[in-house]
Amino acid sequence: MSVKRLRGTFKQLLAYRSAVVGLCILCFIVGLSIYAVIAIPYEEAIRAWRLGEDVSINNPRNASPSWINFFLQKKLPETIIMDTLKKESGAKKAIVPSETISAIRIEFPFEFNYDDFPSELNLFFTANYSEKAPYITIDWIKPNGATIRLKEMVVKKTDRYYISIDNELAQKLRLDLSEKVGQEIPYEIPPQLSLFAVEDGSILKPETAQVLKGKYKMVIEGILFEKQSDMDSRLVVYGKVFGLAGTDHLRRDLMIGLLWGAPIAVSFGILASVLISFSQMIIAAVSAWYGKWADMLLQKATEFFMILPFLPILMMIAIFYKLSIWVLLVVVIALSIFGSGVKTYRAMFLQVKELPYIEAAQAYGAGNLRIIFRYMIPKVLPTIIPSLVLSVSSFVFLEAALAILGLGDPVVPTWGKIINDAYTKGALHQGYYYWVLEPSFLLVLTSLGFALLGFALDKIFNPKLSEI
């Protein structure tokens, strides 16, 4: 098809509002895809997705998207990270050296003015020493002046202190608070609550606990036993919101999955649709043109494949063999090539075969292959383009459906996989609606885009008599 024809078609397309909407949606999705590929290169995305926690340790778990705070009364906290290696974070570190041992003091001052408690509290250490490890004490100072000793510990070369799952600390804090309040706190109050709560009766129920807003400080004091020793620390006060899309159970930024889901979904859908349609078209053309034995054989093969139950077989293969997404694509194509499209196209080709210009081509010496590819297929091609575009949606959904069933690629971040993770981790039970809604929305949006475009193309390429 020449450029002029494409431009003409495009102009016709713009006359349909639905097509314009569809094109906008697709531009958006393609825009996402391009952005994904540029901003997060493939290997990095796979790595971040596969390694999960190890890479995203600074992310909160199951955090909602940050923009949700716009709609909420009670503002959910964002993550606060203070790192002695990054002066701008506000961490202060001072080492008082002396001949043999040095004193080290690290301060993490921060303001906490949110309406809800942090989800987690972790401390990370890196220490430099040859034989004797530093020894530290960790203190917590609340805005009301109360100081709490959290822990005393030896710091190894890389060490971490998971404050929020420190049971001893939790118990100690519960008892202390129960005393202050004058009543026993009847539930297992976690440290991230007790360290941040207003110390009054509201703390007796977790739902009514209030955040004590104001300036907090964590003070780490310690001794470095060697002249060359050094220690760095990072405090992460995990929020409950993160980024544009939130995080999943492995702390992975969902944006990676959502962004990368776009090019994967679109390329899977388009590749499957195009390769299958074109293959079916060629098979149908050969079948119709040569007729007789070739026709009979190809049609019998088609009928055989048409009878096979597509999805169950696909599921069986996926159960027995762990399929990567590209192998899945090949399997889908292989199972679909001799599909019902062959019958439809063959009917079209049988008609085209009788057209006078085909006979004329034979008269001036055109060979069989030339007639098939340069005379018959170009005639039929515009007719199949709408169904080609429409079937992209169904392949996008197919891949998602398989992933949701747990049969898809276990490694690559796709929208279906995100939904699968959400489902297996009980997202809806736990109220993590965004985890399900975000990928679903994108799936539906993508399908809608292709569907709108496909229907408009159908109106252009296959005008019905009733429209004048």
């Binding site: 004329a360 034979q362 008269a363 001036y364 010496g365």
Partner: protein, 325 residues
Amino acid sequence: MSEQILLSVRELCKYFELRKGLFAKAGYVKAVDGVSFDLKKGDAVSLVGESGSGKTTLGKTILRLYEPTKGTIIFDGRDITNLGSRQLLEYRRETGLVQQDPYGALPPFMTIRRVLEEPLVIHKIPKAERIKRIYSVLEEVRLTPVEDFIGKYPHMLSGGQQQRLVIARAMILNPKLIVADEPVSMLDASVRIEILTLLKELQKKHGLSVIYITHDLSTTRYFSEWIYIMYAGKIVEKAPTKVLLKNPLHQYSQALLNIIPDPDAENRFKIKDVPPGEPPSLVNPPEGCRFHPRCTYFKDGVCNKKDPEEIEAEKDHFVRCWLYG
């Protein structure tokens, strides 16, 4: 004398199989059943007949678009009857086809330039030569200015222009023989003459032989040197055009001539003499002369027993009828 003969057809037959299911045969449609003639270089012959007479099948069999069932076709001294598709390529270069439906004969998705370029590409004409030929052939059929037309698509042309393009395509390989199958019957009356005149001009200019297939006898005067009348798969009369139009010998030819109206106000008062009945089935043609069920000169025992042979009733005037043999 024989160097002047371009096409020589002897006892040519084309039967189509009627099949019941994939394997059972149910008989043959004898579309062309024993046709013989010679066509001289530069001559045009009108092959006249109604639908079912086999004229189109004959034209297409001569072009080897169908495989002959029996008989021989000798073109320019070569026997092309049984050539395989590879060897036919040369033959295809020397022949051209002009079909009835001008729009259908053109691939709607090809520009005029591409339409004309296809035969050249297939026959491996070098690129530089191609554009020259395209221009020259478009000028010959008067689709000018050429630059205006070259980028257009077939649907942008009128019926007459489309047919001129089809003719251009048939001419572009410099053929020796053109088979024109009802080339004007789908065109408006005022355009028909334009196309026929063009064909005639091209024929004279290039010394082409033309087989002009038509059901309309009235155009033959302006076009061909010879008329062959076909009925039920056989040629029943052959004569030079003027001779046949003045003195048709076969009753079928007489009927054809008789019933063709000229615009005349008196026509509405006259009932024409039309042979009763219809053309016979080609699967089971009547025994003997195929026209006998409708012929007023029918002689029992003769006409329904033996198929008449071709007899030269007068010089160059051949007829298949027991009246003359």
